[in-house]
């Protein structure tokens, strides 16, 4: 917690088991580790979301394992998967039912832009109709990326910039390069070099 001990006399600060802070910071700190996500999982990204919640990636490390499937109990909406013309009214309704403060994560290419589905039935990016705070690219994003997105939400929640904001935050998570496992790294002699002086 970003406590502020400097305002107290040194002697007092050392002896007393207290920490002074602002109420906003304290509340933000509490919120940060108790996000209750609501997975609006429609397609492939939903399965990746399940993978993140399961043992290997373990979303519980970030205090966000308490999935609530009712919007009234959750404060973080994960839109995982493409949203179609038939599904969009449902999404809007769910967003409206969530209580403040609330954040929306658009997970994957389909939710953010329509992805490969540039067709008559798919909404080309949910941000046209619902405010989106964090975009996670990838089709579907790797679990590490999803965790990165969640940590971004934690940062936003800790800063307490929720009440009376008029615009969605629109943070984009950068894709990170994942290291190749050593056993699969090509050896120097295996790499095919173009013959002649092509480059």
């Amino acid at each position: 917690m970003d406590g502020n001990r400097n305002n107290l006399p040194d002697a007092l600060a050392d002896k007393l088991p207290i920490l002074t802070t602002t109420l906003d910071t304290a509340v933000g700190w509490c919120r940060k580790y108790s996000l209750w996500p609501m997975p609006f999982a429609t397609a492939c990204c939903g399965i990746e979301f399940m993978a993140v919640a399961c043992s290997r990636f373990d979303l519980a490390r970030f205090g966000a394992e308490a999935m609530r499937f009712t919007p009234r109990q959750s404060d973080l909406l994960f839109v995982a998967g493409r949203v179609t013309v038939k599904m969009l009214p449902v999404l809007q309704r769910i967003y409206q039912q969530m209580c403040e403060p609330k954040w929306v994560v658009s997970m994957g290419a389909c939710a953010s832009t329509g992805g490969v589905f540039d067709t008559y039935a798919v909404v080309q990016g949910i941000d046209q109709y619902v405010p989106v705070d964090v975009y996670i690219p990838g089709c579907p994003p790797r679990p590490e990326q999803l965790i990165e997105g969640l940590m971004q939400i934690q940062k936003i929640a800790a800063e307490g910039k929720t009440q009376s904001r008029s615009k969605p935050l629109g943070v984009v998570i950068e894709p990170k390069r994942t290291p190749v496992p050593l056993s699969l790294k090509p050896k120097e002699e295996d790499i095919l070099k173009p013959p002649g002086s092509m480059c």
């Binding site: 429609t42 043992s55 599904m87 589905f117 699969l184 095919l192």
Partner: protein
């Protein structure tokens, strides 16, 4: 007090017309209508069931689908045969590899190409891994629905190992797009076969634990036995295939009946259920995982050497990299294949190719107009066919049994709505 007119961009959103949660029936006041879905954790996907209830018992049920209809088939008419494989990944997203292989099976049937023996074996291994991947999640789901969350976590752990295998094979853990017409995007990497064998050694341990947890578990049995029973004749009449039909005793598996890939050369058995209820579907799936492990072991042992792609003289696969870099013909061939307005052209005809995937018969009906794109590519998705019987299966059961029955059908929205 008059309401002030808001500017258009500040207008409140239109109230979305949705039925209230519970509606009392006008004629029979004991009957109440309940909406289940489209966004509900127990549907696993985006299905909307409207149930008429008498107490807790379901009197009538109407499924509404299409909440994930994304125009796959229209998209196929605008993509070349090799491009569309990326879209098939997203069809049955529990086992993307199986869709890739089934799609190119149909394309190769249309082009009349015989793939190489190495490719046949490699695709067999991958198809069986995908089957295990699909069944693991489905069996875990079936357990989750009756409250056994542990079993679900067990299954997901092993799915992660399969994801690792696929990542080593093609670079992506989920959306694989591994196959190409006449072969694959890349050969099997060195050491991959050993990774697969290690996995085959490790998986039976989980299955043993899994069986201990569920098979003789009284709660699990009471929740799944005699639930959603389908008779032999009805299963056929409702066009059921795959583990769903085999759970009702229908002896049909395309791997045996219409052999493809390396299956005629491998030994395996087809498990058949007898009761046609949720429990017997679960047993069929568990036994299929065992059989798949045995198939993979045999296929890895007999994996032939040689090229994975068909001869590049056919102008279907990409040229060998040495040719692309080494000769002007190879370079021309490379560009001829990758340019979207060139590529290979299929004969003017129509053809249906189907494979046995984890869910049932996944087939593609292709109509070609002689260009490099399909004129029509209809998907015969097993989920779509299976869910038709929802009303027949679930009427008369309680709500909690509806959830169990739905989990046993393994309905995948993207395959259902396409």
């Amino acid at each position: 007090m008059t309401q002030t007119q808001l500017p258009p961009d500040k207008m409140p959103p239109q109230e979305v017309a949705q039925p209230p949660q519970m509606i009392q029936d006008q004629e029979n006041p004991d009957h109440w209508t309940l909406n289940f879905g489209p966004q509900h954790p127990a549907t696993h996907t985006t299905i909307h069931l409207v149930m008429k209830l008498d107490g807790e018992r379901v009197v009538d049920i109407t499924p509404h689908i299409g909440y994930l209809h994304s125009g796959f088939e229209k998209l196929a008419e605008h993509h070349t045969y090799d491009q569309y494989v990326t879209v098939t990944d997203r069809m049955n997203y529990l086992s993307p590899m199986a869709n890739n292989i089934a799609w190119h099976h149909a394309v190769e049937k249309l082009l009349d190409i015989e793939i190489t023996p190495r490719c046949k074996y490699a695709r067999t291994i991958v198809a069986e891994l995908a089957r295990i991947q699909d069944h693991l999640l489905n069996v875990g789901e079936a357990a989750l629905e009756v409250g056994a969350f542990t079993a679900f976590i067990f299954c997901f752990n092993d799915r992660e190992h399969i994801y690792d295998l696929f990542e080593a094979l093609c670079g992506a853990r989920f959306t694989t797009s591994w196959t190409r017409a006449g072969g694959a995007m890349a050969d099997i990497p060195d050491g991959w076969d050993q990774m697969v064998l290690d996995f085959c050694k490790h998986l039976p341990k989980t299955l043993v634990e899994f069986r201990k947890l569920l098979n003789r578990n009284r709660i699990f049995q009471e929740r799944t036995r005699n639930v959603a029973v389908m008779s032999y004749e009805e299963a056929i009449n409702y066009s059921w295939t795959g583990p769903m039909a085999r759970g009702s005793g229908v002896k049909r598996d395309l791997r045996k009946d219409e052999p493809y890939l390396a299956y005629p050369e491998l030994e395996f058995k087809i498990p058949i259920g007898s009761d046609g209820d949720v429990f017997s579907r679960y047993l069929v799936r568990m036994e299929e995982i065992e059989q798949s492990i045995s198939i993979i072991k045999q296929a890895v042992k007999n994996l032939p050497s040689g090229p994975i792609n068909v001869d590049s003289d056919l102008r279907v696969p990409l040229a060998e990299k040495t040719e692309t870099y080494g000769s002007i013909e190879g370079l021309i061939h490379h560009f001829e294949t990758v340019m979207t307005n060139r590529g290979f052209h299929a004969p003017v005809n129509e053809c249906y190719g189907a494979q046995e995937t984890a869910n049932g018969e996944l087939g593609f009906f292709l109509v070609s107009d002689g260009t490099n794109k399909a004129w029509r590519a209809k998907t015969r998705g097993p989920s779509f066919i299976h869910l038709q019987a929802a009303a027949r299966l679930m009427c008369g059961h309680t709500i909690s049994e509806v959830v169990v029955a739905l989990a046993s059908m393994n309905v995948i929205a993207a395959e259902l709505d396409r």
